[in-house]
Amino acid sequence: MSAPKTLYDKIVDEHRILSFDESGAAGERLLLYIDRTVLNEYTSPQAFSGLRAAGRNVWRPAASLGVVDHVNSTNPDRDAGELDDGARRQIEYLSENGRDFGIEIFDLFDPRQGIEHVVMPELGLVLPGMVIAAGDSHSTTYGAFGVIGFGIGTSDIEHLLATQTLVYRRLKTMRVTIDGTLAPGITAKDLIMEVIRRIGADGAVGHAVEFAGEAIDALGVEARMTICNMAVECGARVALMAPDDKVVDYIAGCPRAPSPDLLAAARAEWRTLRSDPGARFDHEVALDAADIPPMVSWGTSPDQSLAITGSVPDPQDLPAERRADAIRAMAYMDLAPHTPLQDIAIDRAFIGSCTNARLTDLRDAARILKGRKVAPGVRAMISPGSSGVRRAAEAEGIDRIFIDAGFEWRRSGCSLCLAMNDDSLAPGERCASSTNRNFEGRQGIGGRTHLMSPAMVAAAAVTGRLADVRALAVEELN
């Protein structure tokens, strides 16, 4: 009988066309078959130019989808689209490449347009056991389906388009087990922020991370996507969760799901997509879900975060190797040591991004916003994760809750998560944000980002300061 295998190794083995060294262990160099990719307008152009220059074709055009998401305006008046010349050219070139290479493209005004990592799963294009590589670091999102998803650069996009493969190094494995039950008001975002805080921004570099345990099993598929999405912020190249019935049910409801017959056949195989009992991981981390508080970031790296009840740390209390970075981060964030986080006033509030802009995220925020108003002086925006999410929310009346509270109900795109479009912070502005990166300048030069869950953004928006959602929403949480 063969040795017990991790879920990660099972999927790699199933996609290994040939091995260059036959080691079968971490570090093995192999040619990996890629099931699918999604292309955006800003990391794909040079890949297509490379194909054109070399006279190469796309190996399997039907395995690719192109979506405009990074540079488009989210202005609700779609004809007001404030596109600069570069953005316009990128969008045009994506369509041109789709036409010339036979790849389906969702352009700016396609009813299916949205953030790539929201669009792919909601269409039913992400199926357990797949390998999906794409030109965006948050491709780890697909791990929620039992999929090896990972980000690649443009040269590898070109390689993938031309060959349907990547030259791949087998990763080491880490398992993060979260048993216990999340307390009321605590979300998947808080959970993953606590994991990142605990292991550090480089804590999982070189690893495929499998998330397991009662707290993961209890989460819905969209919440699981939040965790896998943000796992890249602790360096994970791949995030994985064993697919269960919730995943199959989610897929069954998607427009491009396999037919019921095919789904039944698939379901039997998908049951085997789990780490074998006794499978060995290179690292193991364990957390108790009950210990996880509502989290907010205070610094400029996603691991610089704390419970909302805490205070900005004193660099002298930090390990020596983290001190200089903390001092630099505090200067950029204009925060003094010992400042209670709940005393920090905000200028902006943003709900959006591939991390936290799906329908359940919007519902979470709406629960807090219902009957409340955004604090004076705060500009609040919501950009639903896809045009489909936007329509679904409107069908439920959630848009009215946001609008009545004083939020701008925007169109879909990456928007203020990375501010490649006209949504950005002014220098010095401070934003409560449901996004994934608090890097210097991420939301605009000199802009200051505090990461948190959508419900916590809603709480901050109505309070005007970083706020503890639990204090605000006693009845909503019960």
Binding site: I17, L18, F20, R29, L31, Y33, R36, Y42, T43, P45, Q46, S49, A54, R56, R60, A62, S64, L65, G86, A87, R89, Q90, Y93, I103, E104, L127, G129, M130, S137, I152, G153, S155, E158, H159, T163, Q164, A201, D202, V205, G206, G235, R256, A257, P258, S259, L262, A265, E269, S301, D303, D325, L418, A419, M420, P427, R437, F439, E440, G441, I445
Partner: protein
């Protein structure tokens, strides 16, 4: 891509942890459809102030750093966004090698695909090299053929992935290499997709 065999040049220290690709290549320089024009974007918001003037406090702006070829960096350099523009900008600026203890994984792949040398040394070795720099600058030689790095009184061998080393030294055509296996890819694909008919159900050309 330019081959890397042996190179001597200026090295600059950037010891902060987690320097991300948003900082290496800010968003304002991501709006092209080709690879050109990115040298100006490299570390742009660290190099220039709001008025476009050079910042005195940034190491690469020092007069003695005009021909910097190497960066000596802190852990997890190049984390974050997948943007290959960060690597293109490095090379266009003149940086040919980076020496650190760990890197963002996508950044490392992008570097290998473009001939930017990334050396991974233990944190203790990085500290020893930083100590050689004194005021943050020094002259370094990296010999990829001999797998040896030298700076001031410091000299040490290093390990590097053999495939990456070979690609850096020979400048291989990766897609061309893979396409020599086209028949095996095709045979694998046919068997694999045949075994799992549900995979093709979602293919976009069927809709």
């Amino acid at each position: 891509m330019e081959r890397f065999i042996r190179l001597s040049g200026r090295a600059a220290a950037m010891p902060a942890a987690n320097i991300d690709t948003d900082v290496i290549m800010p968003k304002a320089y991501l709006k092209g459809i080709d690879r050109s024009g990115l040298a100006i974007g490299l570390f742009h918001d660290l190099r220039f102030d709001d008025n476009g003037a050079l910042r005195d406090d940034f190491i690469l702006n020092r007069p003695d750093m005009a021909n910097t070829r190497f960066l000596l960096v802190g852990p997890n350099f190049g984390c974050g966004s997948s943007r290959e523009h960060a690597v293109w900008g490095m090379l266009q600026y003149g940086i040919r090698g980076i020496i650190g203890s760990s890197y963002g994984a996508i950044f490392a792949d992008n570097a290998a695909n473009n001939g930017l040398l990334l050396l991974s040394l233990p944190a203790t070795e990085i500290a020893a090299l930083m100590a050689q720099l004194g005021d943050g600058a020094g002259d370094m030689t990296v010999d990829l053929d001999a797998q040896r790095v030298e700076m001031g009184d410091y000299a040490s061998g290093f390990d590097i992935d053999p495939a990456t080393r070979q690609a850096l030294m020979l400048g291989l055509d990766r897609i061309g290499e893979t396409l020599t296996h086209a028949e095996r890819i095709r045979a694998f694909e046919k068997a694999y997709l045949g075994r799992k008919p549900w995979l093709m159900a979602a293919d976009s050309d069927e809709h």
